[in-house]
């Protein structure tokens, strides 16, 4: 199994994702530079947290135009697994792979906190190893993580069982406490909490491992 971790200028959780996959999960991970245009030999792509291109203009707005994102779109269209974490989630909404938007936290401040997050569906390649309703302790660390979308989109996400995670402590004020969502084909995930920061008991929680283990399981089944 080979994971690719995209490195945009300004990504700063790229190393954490790489470390958790290669050291704590025990699978191969490699960095993918933002100028890369082909993702041929990867099984899954992680868009990591950070401040891609400085997040000027709007979080993720510039990353949308990077060469690697065209490749990521093709990769997703071909059914490849794409997980955007934090800034990665913001990028996925900016480039239209996921609906809605992430705006400033309701308290207008950056929030770094470990909080409880419920697994809302196990019908996905990112949550199949979890139990529905399972509560994960995951950290958030963002200034713009308040998920918003129009009512119809929110209803649709719920009706199609595409809300992957929901906050039990809705610190950023997301609509319907949404912490993570899936695309219609269920192979693209965006989530604000950081599962890669919770893959080692030494860091206080290893609850995030289930996301990566689910991906590994789903990929193994495909082979």
């Amino acid at each position: 199994m080979k994971f690719g971790v995209v490195v945009f200028p300004g990504s700063n959780c790229d190393h954490d994702a790489w470390y958790s996959i290669s050291h704590n999960l025990g699978h191969k991970a490699e960095f993918v530079w933002h100028r890369e245009t082909r993702l041929s030999d990867l099984d899954a792509v992680i868009l990591p947290g950070g401040f891609s291109y400085g997040d000027y203009l709007r979080c993720g707005a510039i990353a949308k135009f990077s060469p690697v994102m065209s490749a990521v779109k093709d990769f997703a269209a071909a059914g490849g697994l794409v997980a955007g974490i934090c800034n990665g989630f913001q990028i996925l909404t900016e480039c239209g792979l996921l609906p809605g938007a992430l705006i400033r936290n309701r308290n207008l401040k950056f929030i770094c906190r470990e909080l409880p997050v419920a697994v809302e569906t196990t019908d996905s390649s990112f949550t199949n190893a979890a139990v529905k309703g399972q509560v994960l302790r995951l950290p958030i660390a963002h200034g713009e993580g308040c998920y918003v979308a129009d009512e119809r989109t929110l209803d649709e996400l719920e009706a199609e069982d595409r809300v992957a995670f929901r906050y039990l402590d809705n610190a950023n004020g997301s609509q319907r406490a949404i912490a993570g969502i899936l695309d219609a084909r269920r192979n693209v995930l965006g989530m604000m909490p950081h599962p890669e920061r919770a893959t080692d008991p030494l860091m206080g929680s290893s609850d995030g491992l289930v996301v990566f283990e689910s991906m590994v399981g789903a990929l193994a089944e495909r082979r």
């Binding site: 200028p9 470390y19 950070g50 401040f51 400085g54 997040d55 950056f110 920061r197």
Partner: protein, 749 residues
């Protein structure tokens, strides 16, 4: 070019005598650009001219020291071929003028000091000092400064991707017109990855990398070397503007370029910008540097040589590459989208030779700038203090209410509102984050972790700068010992008023000497630091505010928490209840909060006992006997017990004391050398105590829901943990006009 008149000299904050010295060193009148260069290099900020004589008294040697003072940061060996670089630096003056950018660029500056040495920054901490948030006159401004500083630190550190893992915040009226922002940073690397700021190799190219040079921050270093007046508000253009994204790119590009092996030396452009980096790199290597300013990337047109040389634009570095291998270096910077331009060459003549389009605008011996700055032996008398030796008579009507007052005071309340705005986990090394006695990061690829703590106490130092400084070192080392770490090395930030006043100079001298004695005693040599003087506004100096940053080492393991994890554990007070007398109580938080007073002397410190208690604490924590551990600091025993009760489990304590001390002293005195632990095996701890000749009385048991303290059968405190915690948690947000979650439950008790 303007003529150099006495007014021009004075405007550059050079004394007539200093100007005479310049004439002597040059053998001629300086050009305007040269005058500007001398003024920044000879400023207090860059030259340490008032303190250098006394800084020499500090211990700088030790078995782990790989690099002591004099470089961008100190380096210590942590074993297995690994090393850490760390330093603390102030950005006090800019943070008063423009809190957000002032604090942000403070973070940026210290981070560059770390990665210019080749180390990857893995932790930041901050020591912050503000005026009281509810001050009748300055409260609104103090709140704005606090909010600006915290969001500036968050903005820069979070985007750069370094965790801000702790620190301390203190509120005192002496900071009303002069807040302090001291930022500590620490980085990690291998021994063979260390780079120095030396321009070696005549003929090697000098390369400028990073952001373009603009007109921001011109004369920032000399601004930081004068007192504030009403006109200071006009100095806003002197404050630099930071771009953490650019700094992140610069970090990655520098570390990658260093791997090429083509870099000979490198230094960041911080205070005094291009001037400082050129002459210091040349001076250290005994070489000269010749640059032509036409090659310097510029953000705007029409900048004069004076402006280019003195600009403090952020996110810039100067490096010397091996001749013929420039392309290898330039290629890496291009990859990261950064400017990298050869601006000059290393020469053998020892001169800083600055040209503009081929025409010489400055030609000064490097040593004259970097090493021959005037050094002053400023007169000093007795340290300034305007506090009586004897305090008021007082009697607490309700110690429980006093405890609530202390726990909701600015210095002792929960600072979650501050540290939750910092990403304290990025890079996944933080095993113990903000809110504990010390913070810990593990070093990936090793079994070693690094603990760090920042401490200061301006009340103690005001009453007695020498004893106060010792107490700070002791507390910092105790913080580290409480998390199981052995203190190994230190950095200091010396914040004071105007050194030209003998009674202020005395504060500086006495506290440096006290610090020196304590650092020797606890085996923590100083590897570098920063001095910030002229912290006065309208003639009102801050209290002497030295801040220590001390680093300790320990094996990587799950941390021992501050909080009691469960009921039924024995609570032991390592070091015993201690003693107090009226004069030793005047510097305490109780005197500050409950009595609004300051008198007498700081608590008495016995450094031998302190060292034994620390050794004992490390053994108890290291052996796994402690279920929780927390050292006593501001607010004494009662505050420490309350803080131990604020865990998720809501476990409090039933304490039964047998002491003849009056209740206010017993509960709130701040005698050092004391640590609270909870344990399932009190006998084992007490046996260990006997071996080290340290008292370790069993003072009570952990129990659910209530904090109850009795002395000789009389109940003096009885409070519900949940209610107390809500008050403690909400104190800061409510002072800022924001109620945190659960804020409604703050009824009086």
């Amino acid at each position: 070019m303007s003529a150099i008149t006495p007014d021009v000299v004075q405007a550059h904050q050079l004394t007539p005598a200093e100007y005479e010295r310049i004439l002597e060193l040059l053998g001629r009148e300086p050009t305007y650009t040269e005058l500007g260069i001398f003024s920044v290099m000879w400023s207090e900020h860059c030259s340490y001219k008032s303190t250098r004589r006394h800084l020499k008294k500090l211990p700088t040697q030790g078995p782990r020291i790989l690099q002591g003072p004099g470089e961008n940061a100190g380096i210590i060996d942590i074993g297995d071929g690994w090393a850490i670089a760390f330093k603390i630096e102030s950005h006090n003056h800019p943070s008063f003028i423009e809190p957000f950018q002032g604090a942000a660029t403070g973070v940026g500056g210290i981070l560059r000091d770390i990665f210019t040495m080749g180390a990857r920054p893995i932790a930041v901490m901050d020591a912050l000092r503000f005026g009281p948030l509810d001050d009748p006159q300055a409260g609104a401004r103090n709140r704005r400064i606090l909010e600006g500083v915290v969001s500036g630190i968050a903005h820069y550190g979070n985007c750069f991707g370094v965790p801000t893992i702790g620190g301390e915040t203190v509120f005192d009226e002496c900071y009303n017109g002069n807040p302090l922002v001291n930022v500590f940073a620490l980085g990690v690397f291998r021994h063979d990855e260390v780079f120095y700021a030396r321009a070696s190799g005549v003929g090697n190219p000098v390369i400028y990398v990073g952001a373009k040079t603009g007109k921001d921050g011109i004369h920032g270093a000399s601004m930081a070397s004068t007192e504030f007046t009403e006109e200071s508000k006009q100095k806003r253009p002197n404050v630099q503007v930071g771009d953490p994204f650019l700094e992140k790119l610069l970090l990655e590009a520098c570390l990658e370029a260093m791997k090429t092996g083509a870099i000979v030396g490198i230094q960041d452009m911080g205070a005094a910008g291009l001037t400082c980096s050129t002459c210091e790199m040349g001076s250290r290597a005994g070489t000269g540097i010749e640059i032509d300013l036409q090659h310097v990337p510029q953000r705007e047109t029409g900048m004069t040589p004076y402006e280019i040389m003195l600009s403090e634009s952020q996110e810039r570095m100067l490096l010397v590459a091996e001749k013929g291998r420039e392309d290898e270096v330039v290629r890496v910077f291009r990859k990261w989208g950064l400017d990298a331009v050869t601006v000059g060459v290393v020469t053998g003549d020892g001169l800083l030779h600055v040209k503009d389009h081929g025409e010489t605008v400055a030609r000064i011996p490097n040593r004259a700038l970097a090493d021959e700055a005037p050094i002053y032996d400023r007169p000093y008398t007795a340290p300034y203090r305007a506090a009586p030796m004897d305090g008021p008579t007082f009697e607490s009507a309700d110690p429980g209410a006093d405890l609530v007052a202390l726990l909701t005071s600015g210095d002792l309340c929960s600072q979650r509102w501050i540290w939750e705005q910092y990403d304290y986990m990025v890079r996944t090394n933080t095993t113990l984050g903000p809110g504990a006695d010390a913070a810990i990061v593990r070093i990936k690829g090793t079994e070693t972790s690094v603990a760090m703590a920042l401490d200061g106490n301006e009340r103690y130092c005001y009453l007695d700068p020498r004893e106060g400084a010792k107490l700070i070192v002791a507390e910092c080392c105790r913080n580290l010992s409480t998390v199981g770490a052995t203190p190994v090395a230190a950095t200091n930030n010396l914040n004071y008023g105007n050194p030209e006043r003998p009674e202020i100079m005395a504060q500086i001298v006495e506290s440096i000497e006290g610090m020196s004695e304590a650092c020797r005693h606890f085996g923590t040599p100083i590897t570098g630091g920063n001095v910030s003087l002229y912290n006065e506004t309208l003639g009102e100096p801050i209290r002497p505010s030295p801040v220590m940053g001390i680093v300790g080492l320990l094996g990587t393991a799950g941390p021992v928490p501050v909080e009691f994890p469960r009921a039924g554990l024995a609570i032991l007070l390592l070091g015993g209840l201690g003693d107090c007398e009226p004069r030793r109580f005047g510097g305490t938080q109780y005197a500050k909060v409950a009595l609004k007073d300051l008198w007498g002397l700081p608590p008495a410190l016995d450094m031998d006992l302190e060292a034994r208690v620390q050794e004992f604490t490390r053994r108890v924590v290291g052996s796994g006997l402690a279920a929780s551990a927390h050292d006593l600091g501001g607010g004494g025993l009662a505050v420490a017990l309350a803080e131990c009760s604020f865990g998720a489990a809501g476990i409090g304590a039933r304490i039964q004391l047998d002491s003849g001390l009056r209740k206010e002293y017993l509960l709130f005195h701040e005698g050092p050398s004391r640590v609270l632990v909870s344990t399932a095996d009190p006998e084992a701890v007490r046996r260990m105590a006997a071996e080290l000749d340290v008292e370790a009385p069993l003072i009570g048991w952990t129990s659910p829901d209530w904090l109850e303290i009795e002395n000789r059968g009389v109940r003096v405190v009885h409070l519900k943990v949940e209610e107390l915690r809500a008050l403690w948690e909400n104190a800061l947000p409510s002072r800022l006009g924001e109620l945190g979650p659960g804020g409604a439950g703050s009824g009086a008790m």
